[in-house]
Symmetry: C2
C-alpha cells in the first residue's frame, strides 16, 4: 500500500469540499454529498457504493480537522464523499411513497428508512428536504443507499393520503401513496392526479399523525393487506 | 384588570424558575415543567390545564428576556409553567404503549402523539426520556396534555414487540404493547412479564423500524384489528 499523506491544514481541498457540501446548493451543483460515520459509510459499501473521497481520522486527516467539518456532536472517525448518481435508481419496487413538499429532513429520512423496511421507493417533489442532506441521512440510518429515489412522479393507481375525510385506508387498495407536509397537506392539483384518496382512521383526539408516521402506516398497510391473507386475524 | 408588572431583569424569580426547569433534575424535584409557545399552552388550556405561571412577551416580560430562557430557535410569545400532577392520570384507555428505557425524547414525544391519535396511554420506565422535557413536548405537539401517562406497569395481556423472530403482529391480539429502545430492545426479564410477543413483518432490508414507527404501527394495528371487521379488505 502507498503511504498516504495526512491532511494537516484546514485549507486542504478535500476538507473545503466537505464544508461546502453542508449546503444543499453545493450538493446540487456538484452532485456530491457527505456521509459521516462508520455506520453510514458501511451501509454504502454494503451495497457496493464506494466514496469518491474517504477521510479517516488519524489515518489521512488530523482528527481535530475532521471534527471541525463534521455536522455531528461527536466527531466521526470516517467521513465519505459520495456521488448522488451512485444512489439507487431502479428498477422500482411496486410499493412507494411520493412526497409533496415535505421540507423537514427528519421526516424525509424517517420515510426513507420506512421505505427500506417495507420494500418501497421514495419519490420527492421540489421543496422536499434533500435526502442526501446530513439530517435526512442520519434519520435514514443507512437506508438512503438501499432505497430507490426516483424523480417526482405520480404513477397510475397512486393513493393520495389525506388527514381527514377520505375513505379509510383499509378500504382503499394501493401500493403507492402520495403525502404532503403536515400543515399544508396536498394541494387540489396533486390530489386530482391520484387515482384514489384515503385517510388513516383515528379514534383519538390528535389532529393528525405526522407525515413520517402516516407514510409508515400506509406502507405497513400495503404490505399487510397485500401479503396479509395468511397473516391477518380477520 | 389589574395592571401587571413587567419583568425587566433576568434575575427575576420566574425567569430563574424557567431556566432551572430546562434540567430534568429540577423538573423532578419541583414537579413542574415548561411548555413554550401558544400551540402547547393552548393545548393545555384546551383540556382545562392552566399554567401556574404564564409569561407573555411584551405583556408581563420583556421579549428579549423571554427569548433568553427559551429552548426554541424562534423565541415564543408565551411560556407557561405547568404542574406535572395536572397531567392526565386516568382512567386508562384500553390501548397503551409501555416504553422500556426509550431515552430519545423525540421518540417519546412522537409516541405520545401517536397514543393521542389512536386513543392510547403511554407508560414510561425509569431511563425513558422525560415526556415533559422540551424536545419530547415539542415532538408530541400538545398531545402530552391529552394522553394518560401512568407509572410504569406491564398489564395482563401486554404484548412485547420484538424486532425479530416473534409471531407476526397481525396474528397476535393485543391492545397494550411493550417496546424497548432501538439498539438494546427489551431484556429477557421484561419479555417474561408479557403475555405474548410479536414482530412487525418487514419484507424490506432495514434492520428494524425505529421505536416510534414500531409503536405507531402497533397502535394502528390494534385499532384496525379491533374495530376493523367492517373496515378491513380481508
Amino acid at each position: 500500500m502507498d503511504r498516504v499523506s495526512v491532511i494537516t491544514s484546514r485549507d486542504n481541498e478535500k476538507l473545503k469540499l466537505v464544508r461546502k457540501l453542508s449546503a444543499r446548493r453545493w450538493r446540487d451543483k456538484l452532485g456530491l454529498f457527505v456521509a459521516e460515520g462508520e455506520d453510514l459509510v458501511g451501509a454504502a459499501r454494503g451495497v457496493g457504493i464506494e466514496p469518491v473521497e474517504l477521510l479517516v481520522a488519524g489515518e489521512n486527516v488530523e482528527p481535530e480537522l475532521l471534527a471541525e467539518v463534521s455536522s455531528l456532536a461527536h466527531a466521526p472517525r470516517v467521513v465519505g464523499v459520495f456521488r448522488r448518481a451512485d444512489l439507487q435508481r431502479g428498477p422500482l419496487p411496486e410499493r412507494g411513497l411520493v412526497l409533496w413538499r415535505v421540507a423537514d429532513p427528519g421526516n424525509v429520512g424517517t420515510l426513507v428508512r420506512a421505505a427500506d423496511a417495507f420494500g418501497a421507493y421514495v419519490s420527492l417533489s421540489d421543496g422536499c428536504a434533500d435526502p442526501a442532506g446530513p439530517k435526512a441521512l442520519r434519520a435514514a440510518m443507512g437506508s438512503t443507499f438501499r432505497v430507490a429515489l426516483p424523480e417526482f412522479s405520480i404513477p397510475e393507481g397512486a393513493v393520495a393520503l389525506l388527514a381527514h375525510g377520505a375513505p379509510p385506508l383499509t378500504e382503499v387498495s394501493g401500493a403507492v401513496f402520495v403525502l404532503g407536509a403536515e400543515r399544508d397537506g396536498l394541494p387540489a392539483e396533486v390530489i386530482e392526479r391520484c387515482s384514489a384518496t384515503a385517510t388513516i382512521p383515528l379514534p383519538g383526539d390528535a389532529e393528525s399523525l405526522n407525515v413520517a408516521m402516516a407514510g409508515t402506516i400506509a406502507l405497513y398497510e400495503a404490505v399487510r393487506s397485500g401479503h396479509g391473507r395468511g397473516l391477518s386475524p380477520d
